[in-house]
C-alpha cells in the first residue's frame, strides 16, 4: 500500500538513492551522478565534487603558457593512482615521455601544509578577519569517512616528484601520437576500443576510465585544418562517453581555430575551463591583486556540467588564480582584490559552492 511504501519523493536526499560506488576514486554526487576527481582538490571543490562520469571536459589553452599541462598532469596522475585506465593522445612524437613528468601524490597530510590559513592567523595582535569563509575548516563529505586513507578521493600532487614507476608500467595506459596521422580515424578507433571496457551494464562500477587529449588542434598535426572533421570527432567522442563510465578531457588552443569553430567547440563541452597567462612584473596587476607574486596564471570556469538535472550550476566566482604553493602543489584561489572594495563578492578565498555541492546541511532537490 501507499502507506507501507517508503516515501520516494523528489525531495529526498539523493545520496541514499544512488548506489555507493565500490571502486576507490569515485564518489556519488547529487542527482545520481558519480564523480571522479580532477586531481586538484580546489578544482573538485569548485566544480562541486569533480568531473561527472560521462561528461566531456574541455580546457581552452593560452598559447603563451603551459598551464593546461598542469591540469592534465594532475588529472592523469590521479587516474593512475586510483588504477583507472588512461588513454593519452598528444601531438608530440613520443607521448610516453610525458608520463615521466606526472607528479606523485603526497601520501600523508602532514607533508602538505593545509596551514596557509593559520599562517595568516598568526599575525601579532589585532586580527581583522575580513574574509571569514577562509577560516572555516574544510568540510569533508561524510561518505569519505569509510574510505581507506590510502585511497583518498583526491590527492594532492607534488609537482616536483615524479610518479613512481610501478604506476606507469601498468597495462592500462594507452598512448597515442596525433601528429603524424593524416586524419582522425586512427584516434577515433583507438578511443572506441579503449572506451569499450567501460560500459554501464550493471549497477556496480568496476572501474572508470580517463581519456586525455592534449592540444587537439595543434598546428603541427596534419588534420588541423580540417575543422569539420575535428568537430565531428569531438561530437562522436562525446556521444561515446555519454553512457559510459569515463571522463574525457580535451585541451585546445582556441586562437588557432576559426572563431565559429572555437565557439562550436565551447558549446559542445559539458564542463568548460580556460587557462590564461599573466604578464610578468606587471605593476598594475601587482597593485590590484594580493598574492600576485605567487600566481602563475588564471583559471576561468565557464561552464560546469549539469547532468541529470535542469538546475544550472551557478558559481560564486568564476576566475581563480593558479598558484604553485611551495613550487610543488597546485592551488586555485579566488582572486583576492586588495581591499579597496571589501564588499565585493569575489573576496572570499577558496569557495565556490554551487547548487550541487556536497556540503552537508543543504537541501538537495
Amino acid at each position: 500500500m501507499a502507506a507501507m511504501k517508503t516515501r520516494m519523493s523528489s525531495f529526498s536526499r539523493n545520496t541514499s538513492v544512488a548506489p555507493a560506488p565500490q571502486a576507490p576514486g569515485l564518489k556519488s554526487g547529487p542527482n545520481g551522478t558519480i564523480f571522479l576527481s580532477s586531481g586538484i582538490p580546489d578544482l573538485d571543490k569548485i566544480l562541486g565534487g569533480g568531473f561527472p562520469l560521462g561528461s566531456l571536459v574541455m580546457v581552452m589553452e593560452d598559447t603563451e603558457a603551459p598551464h593546461h599541462m598542469l591540469l592534465l598532469r594532475n588529472f592523469m596522475s590521479q587516474g593512475l593512482v586510483h588504477n583507472q585506465p588512461l588513454l593519452y593522445a598528444s601531438p608530440s612524437k613520443d607521448p610516453r615521455a610525458f608520463l615521466g613528468t606526472l607528479p606523485s601524490p603526497v601520501l600523508s597530510k602532514d607533508d602538505r601544509s593545509h596551514n596557509r590559513d593559520p599562517e595568516q592567523l598568526q599575525e601579532k595582535g589585532l586580527r581583522i578577519a575580513w574574509q571569514y569563509k577562509k577560516y572555516f575548516g574544510e568540510h569533508q563529505p561524510n561518505f569519505d569517512s569509510h574510505r581507506d586513507t590510502k585511497h583518498e578521493y583526491c590527492n594532492d600532487f607534488d609537482l616536483r616528484k615524479p610518479l613512481e614507476r610501478h604506476f606507469l608500467t601498468a597495462q592500462n595506459i594507452c598512448c597515442l601520437s596525433i601528429q603524424d596521422p593524416p586524419n582522425l580515424a586512427a584516434l577515433r578507433d583507438c578511443c572506441a576500443k579503449f572506451l569499450a571496457q567501460f560500459s554501464r551494464n550493471n549497477s556496480s562500477i568496476s572501474c572508470a576510465g580517463r581519456v586525455a587529449i592534449q592540444s587537439f588542434c595543434a598546428p603541427q598535426c596534419e588534420y588541423s585544418n580540417m575543422e569539420w572533421d575535428m568537430l565531428s570527432f569531438i561530437r562522436s567522442l562525446k556521444g561515446m562517453i555519454r553512457d559510459l563510465n569515463a571522463v574525457a578531457v580535451i585541451t585546445f588552443p582556441p586562437s588557432l581555430l576559426s572563431p565559429s569553430s572555437s565557439k562550436r567547440w565551447q558549446h559542445i563541452a559539458d564542463t568548460l575551463l580556460s587557462v590564461k597567462a599573466i604578464p610578468d612584473e606587471d605593476k598594475e596587476l601587482a597593485n590590484l591583486l594580493t598574492g600576485y607574486q605567487d600566481m602563475v596564471g588564471l583559471l576561468n570556469v565557464h561552464k560546469v556540467a549539469n547532468v541529470n538535472t535542469q538546475v544550472p550550476v551557478i558559481l560564486e566566482a568564476t576566475t581563480f588564480s593558479i598558484k604553485l604553493q611551495k613550487r610543488r602543489y597546485l592551488v586555485l584561489e579566488c582572486l583576492n582584490q586588495a581591499p579597496v572594495d571589501g564588499s565585493s563578492g569575489s573576496s572570499y578565498a577558496s569557495t565556490g559552492s554551487c547548487s550541487g555541492s556536497t556540503k552537508t546541511g543543504t537541501l538537495d532537490f
Binding site: E64, K93, Q220, S224, P279, L285, G297
Partner: protein, 368 residues
Amino acid sequence: MAESICRNLRDGALEGEHAPALSIKDSIATPFGSDVFNYVLTKLSSNILAGKSQSKISILDCYTDPLGWKDSLKGPLDTENFSLKDPIEAVLFRHVRNLDLLLSAIIEMGEALARQGKGRFSVSIDSVTEMLRHASLSSVANLLSKVRSHASRLKIAINGVICKLDIKKVYDQNRISSTFWLLHSDLHEIRAIAALEYLSSMVGSLEPMNLSLNGQRGDLEKLSLLEQNSRKGKFHVRFKRRNGRVRVMCEDFHIKQSGINFTPVSSEEGIINQGLLPKVQFNLQLSEKERIDRAKVVLPFEHQGNGEPMHIYDGRRSLSEGKDEKASVLSENLQTNENSGKGEIIYFRDSDDEMPDSDEDPDDDLDI
C-alpha cells in the same frame, strides 16, 4: 632587451625541454625584419666564433633552385649559382615542397657539424614566409616542431628571411641551441601567424613608431612621419617564461648604415590588463575632475587652521539654504558643489525630525 633575447637563444634549453624558438614578425609598415634577423644572427655567430676556433657555419641553400627546375631543364644553364659568403660552404637543396626531405637534410647537415665536435647546432630559417609559399601550414608547423624537439644533442635554429630560404646551421660549442625565424605578418592569414606564434617561445614584432597617420594632417607632416617610420620603429617582444608568465618588453630600434641599434623605450606606456579581472559593479576610478574636486573638499570636522571656530556639521541644513533642493544619494564618489568653488560634502539626513545629540540613551527602549 635584444641582448637578453640573444642570450636566451644562446643558452639553449634545459634537458627535456624544447629548444627556444624566436619568431621575428614584421610588416610593410616596418620592413626591417631582415635587419633584426641579421642582428640576432650576427650576435649568435659572434658568440660561437668567439668560443671555438673550429666553428663552422653551413648553409642549406633553398633559394637558388627551390623546386629543382634548373636541374630538370638539362640545359646549358649554370646551375651552380651560389650566393656565397666566402668560407662557408653551401649545399643546394632542390625539393622545398617536400618538407620531410628538408628536415632530414637539415638534420643530416647538423649532425655532420656536430660530429666534428661534441656540440649542438642551431638552425636559423631565413623566411618561414617563403616556406609557407611552397608547403601547407601544418607541414611547416610539423617541421618546426620536430626541429625544436629533435634529439637533445642537436638543436636547430631556424632563421627566416623574406626572399631567400637559407638555412644556416650554426655549430656551437657553447651550448647554443635554438631556432629563430623571420615572418612577414601581412603576407599570411591570422591563423598561420597564430600557429607560428604558438610554436615559438619568444615572439618579437616590429611596429612603426607612430601607429596611425591621421588623414587630416597636412602632407608635410605625413612625409615627416613616413620619414621617421622608415628608419625607426618599436620592437615588442613577448617572452614565454618557464613558469608560465609572459614577459612583455619593448625597445626602440633605429636603422643606421652600420646596422641596427636598440635603445630602451623613450616614453612609458602602461599596459592595462583589465580584461583579465572580473568586473566589479562599482566604478572605482575617479576622473580627473572628480579627483580635483575631492581634493578641494573641506572636511567637516577638520580644523581648517584659519582661526575660525570649529563648526561641527550635523547634517541639518540651515533654513537659508532652502528646503526645495533635490536630495541625492550619498555614493562612494564625493559630490561637490561647483558653485562655491570649494568642495563640500553634501549630506542629507534621513529625516529632519531626528533630534541631534539627544541625552537619552538610545538603548533604553530595548526591553531585555
